[in-house]
Amino acid sequence: MKEAARALVMGGGVSGLKAAMDLARAGCSVFLAEKQAVPAGLLLGLDRQFPSNHCGLCRVLPPDPSGRTWQACMRRGFGHPGIEFFPGFEVQDIQGSPGNMSATLIRQTLMVDSDKCNACMQCVEVCPVHMPDLFSTGQIPVKAISRAAPHRPPHHLAISLEACTLCGRCRDACREGAIDLDAAREEKVLDNLDFAVLASGVEYCLPEVYNLYQSAAHADVITTLDFEALLSSAGTDIMRPSDGRPVRRAAWVQCAGSRSLKLEADHCSGICCMISLKQASLAREKDIQCSIFYMDMRTSGRDWQKYLDRAREKGVELIRCRPHSIEQVPEEQILRIPHAPSPGNQQDRDFDLVVLSVGRDPAWKPPEYAGREGVFTSPGSRRVLDIARSIIAASATAATALGEDRQESLPDQEAKDQDQVHSRVLVVGAGPAGLSAALTLAAGNIPVVLVEQKDHLGGHGLSNISPEQRKEVQDLAARAMEHKLVQVYPSAAVISCTGPAGGFKSRIRDSSGDEKEILHGAAVLATGGRAAPVARQEDRTADIFEYSRRIFAAGNSGEAPESVIFILCHNTRQEPANYCSRVCCSLALKSCLQTLSLRPEAEVTVFYRDIMVQGDDEELYTRARSEGVRFIPYSPDAPPSLEAKDGKIRVKGSDPYLSEESEYEAEQLVLAPGVVPAAGSEMARIFNVHSSAEGFLCEADAKYRPVESGRAGIFICGLARNPVPFKEAVLEGRAAAMSALGLLKQGLDSRLQTFVRVKPALCSLCGLCLEACPFKARYAHEETGAMAVDPLACRGCGACVAVCPNKASAWSEQLEENVHELN
């Protein structure tokens, strides 16, 4: 194994930062190129994020218990000892093969020398080039030379070379000589790179380019990105761009620039629904009347459907209709949207502001070098992802890059337990997520104990309808069985886990009742999920998983029913299982298409609430429609009613387009009841982590630490954490492994320094500190009962110190003097 791989990360947004930090933590020399002057990308413009509606810019950088705190609010900048950061540079080309790659970086943003600059702003004054602000799509124009980021001091100026004409007026105006335009042509070449990670994200759709809703003609038709900027700068009111009057009524129009064959944009950007819901919810707090025009509300995340319900409770109005146009009522400064919320019912609605919910630019393509050998592209650079999924994808991509880089090296046989930190990791569950986690860890020379309840590995991955994905799982299972560092316990279960991170003690019990104690430094919980049960009236009813397996197993020669009715969201996406399971819609669409390919004359009807496909899966939906599948929307208040009669299934439902109640008959009924976690609550109890009401394991931070549980050293992934499709389960497994690997690496490496200590002579064992610690870094020692601090979990907030009445909980000696100055 090479001492330190040299890795290039392209893109300094949330994905790039995460990948870079993970690689740095794994010991790589990391180079990070970001074309803007400041890192964090779009995130810097998002003051509040769904589903918490909170800010998380201080959580982007990882906690560092060693006390070398480089973590900070991203608004204050970025520095990391293991990462060489190239702000203002974009990778133009990559040459060579893995292990010996070279990358050419060219300047995209030129920074003004902040040591010389005295913030006189003369340069900005004289700059003739106006351009859209980085954090909006044009409503707030800035100059080609402007402040590097809204939160940066005025002497941190940057020049966007995309817009700059190099006219030299700013340089001439600067009396301090802080502007060096010659550096605009600066190029850097990075040699001897082992691999590169592409995490530069996607380009957003600019409505003007596609003339969406004639937005260029209306100053008050803006995009969701613009709205973030308005929200960020808003006080009590949000002011509209045209005349600065407070906005009282605002509309969001979904799918601007997507879900359209005319725009050659047959895709869904996946997060715009949530962004609009968030913006509308926040606008409601400012007493703005909010309406969202949508087709399908794609709340496809564990907590997203509940978020939608909350938004509705707050008074956000959802109107299921795609508007044709936005009309300006002259002189009144009103934007009018004629729409037809239900068939035959047309209404006008007036707004002060209309927000177009934009996603990926339909014409956007990843850079040409994205496909080269040695360049690992984060899924976040193929489609739009929310923060949590970006982080998972980035981590997983870093893990993959690292794993492949290390393939040639021999496993480090000497990985052994040191001091209090055991290097072993316990992985519970051997489905796609668990297997991916185990193999990622093993590739990082971490010994793994893999516990699986069944007598074979693979979990639900083995019954995947895609032969490629089945093969992938079989390969993973075979590799896990063979790997020297992976110790597999089939037909076994974990029954207890005690101790702090780095020093867990777990008992596993096999099918014969034998128990064994395992010492491990971290654990990855990947216990998966299963189909929610359906009440079966008779055998002509199948759940979507059964049905899809059946007709796909038949290959192209099999039998498909002559008529089939699908009912999606059957008893799900409502209490008590109020979440989207994310897999059913695309499985249903694939099954529809397979049914028709087996039996072209088959009559296929789908009752749905919202079709939840994302990214390019939208094409599946389009194909299903064009091949004649009939889609009938229903509301959860009036689900279609079922009846079995004469060997046929009868479904009564109303077709809203015809405004008539109809009876549909079919040979086969397919229900999609969603998925439920298999062992969530049980795992939560054993490992002392939180689980949701539905039994999903909960993460420490839904946005920035998605695969970490609230207890340090316990990581969660896959269906046990949230409903995910196969590919994402694999990514989550890798990401969880990457986090575990980083934690152990850090624990093994460092002279651990804690922020706080306990003075046993003063301690009354009252346990207030146990309650106060938000990170479960406090624990009562198993034998002595004395209060102890888990250095891998403690993050130095001081809650334990503050809550302790006689300061038996104290700051560490190094910190004490400083902290107690006031006392």
Binding site: A761, S764, L765, C766, G767, L768, N806, K807
Partner: protein
């Protein structure tokens, strides 16, 4: 409490109760008993741990005195081995303190059979010793002699929480002629188990008791209102507060006597030893120099800040103050305001969480 039974006292109620306790030991309902007992040469009954039924006739469960709050000791001893179950005879304020200590992980309520004592008040220790000299059967006389009752500790005179709560078994004295009968009350659970072991038969509770309780309460309420309003008035300015605590010697007696102040060592007493001399010099340079030991105002305010929510109103702090600072009056006044604000009552229920640990996201600033 739902069940009530009268027991014959034959002129010595204390003895009658002692016999019941002895019987609990004999029946192995408990393996030890905590009860006040004065063992010669002492005349002042102090908390005593006993496990031999024969020793019980030396005890004074009804003595109108509490040398120190028994809660501290009951709490400590309850944290012993689980197989040893202990009956503890406690005053209402002591039970409340015990409940608070339980929340702070200082007591194991599961190990205790709590026997509550209806409390007309306690005499100050010195008063008890003095009166003991004058009255042979002080413990028994106290309950029928209104003059003796009027000499109870100052804090007790305005105490309205004189009925035990959260006990398994109550010893009832109010509205009864203790020379004839005392009452025992209990609810389902451990109390009922004990009552069965004691072969107590549920009977009618004399109506007189209700009237006695009401009359005592109304008398105490008006006394309390008077004390509190006076105290509120006094401490509501810096000079008023200073007038009360200026004489503080810094002995920390109040903190040590406080049954809910659970710290092994008070942060303030430690600081009194670890004075920052440089800081003292700086401050001394300001108007009027600086009083040493420094930090006495901080000490009292710290105790208020830390414990006002948990103050059970036992008055031990006032009782032990060598220069008679009405510490308990200050505390009860602040505690009333604090507990009202936090919608909390010290000792009300073992299940009620400590308000400072309620990190709910609801509500505003």
């Amino acid at each position: 409490m739902h069940n009530f039974s009268l027991i014959e006292t034959r002129g010595d109620a204390g003895k009658a109760v002692s016999m019941l306790l002895a019987r609990l030991l004999e029946q192995n309902m408990v393996q030890a008993v905590i009860v006040p007992a004065a063992v010669p040469p002492s005349v002042l009954p102090m908390t005593r741990l006993l496990n031999n039924p024969a020793d019980l006739d030396q005890t004074s469960p009804l003595a109108p005195v509490a040398g120190v709050s028994a809660a501290t000791q009951a709490a400590k001893i309850s944290r012993g081995p689980q197989e040893i179950k202990i009956a503890a005879v406690l005053r209402p304020c002591e039970i409340r303190a015990l409940v608070e200590l339980h929340k702070l992980n200082q007591a194991q309520l599961d190990n205790l059979l709590v026997i509550g004592l209806e409390c007309p008040g306690r005499l100050e220790n010195q008063d008890y010793i003095d009166l003991q000299d004058q009255n042979q059967d002080l413990d028994q006389r106290f309950y029928r002699d209104e003059d003796l009752q009027s000499r109870i500790a100052i804090t007790c005179r305005s105490c309205i929480d004189f009925l035990p709560e959260n006990a398994h078994l109550n010893i009832c004295v109010l509205g009864l002629d203790l020379d004839q009968q005392a009452g025992i009350a209990w609810d389902e659970g451990p109390g009922a188990d004990a009552a069965r072991a004691l072969e107590l038969k549920p009977g009618q509770e004399p109506g007189e008791r209700g009237r006695a309780v009401d009359s005592l309460r109304s008398q105490r309420e008006s006394a309390r209102e008077e004390v509190m309003s006076r105290s509120r008035e006094t401490i509501s300015s810096s000079s008023g507060l200073q007038s009360m605590i200026a004489h503080c010697l810094g002995c920390f007696n109040c903190q040590r006597a406080c049954p809910v102040c659970f710290c092994r060592e008070c942060v303030c007493s430690r600081e009194a030893f670890e004075q920052n001399l440089e800081m003292l010099h700086t401050r001394a340079g300001r108007t009027g120099g600086i009083r040493l030991p420094a930090g006495m105002t901080m000490f009292h305010l710290t105790r208020l800040a830390h414990m006002a929510h948990a103050c059970v109103g036992c008055g031990q702090c006032s009782s032990v103050c060598p220069i008679h600072i009405p510490v308990a009056d200050i505390f009860r006044t602040v505690a009333a305001a604090t507990q009202k604000e936090l919608d909390y009552k010290a000792g009300r229920s073992p299940e009620e969480p400590i308000p400072h640990l309620n990190f709910s996201t609801e509500g505003d600033q």
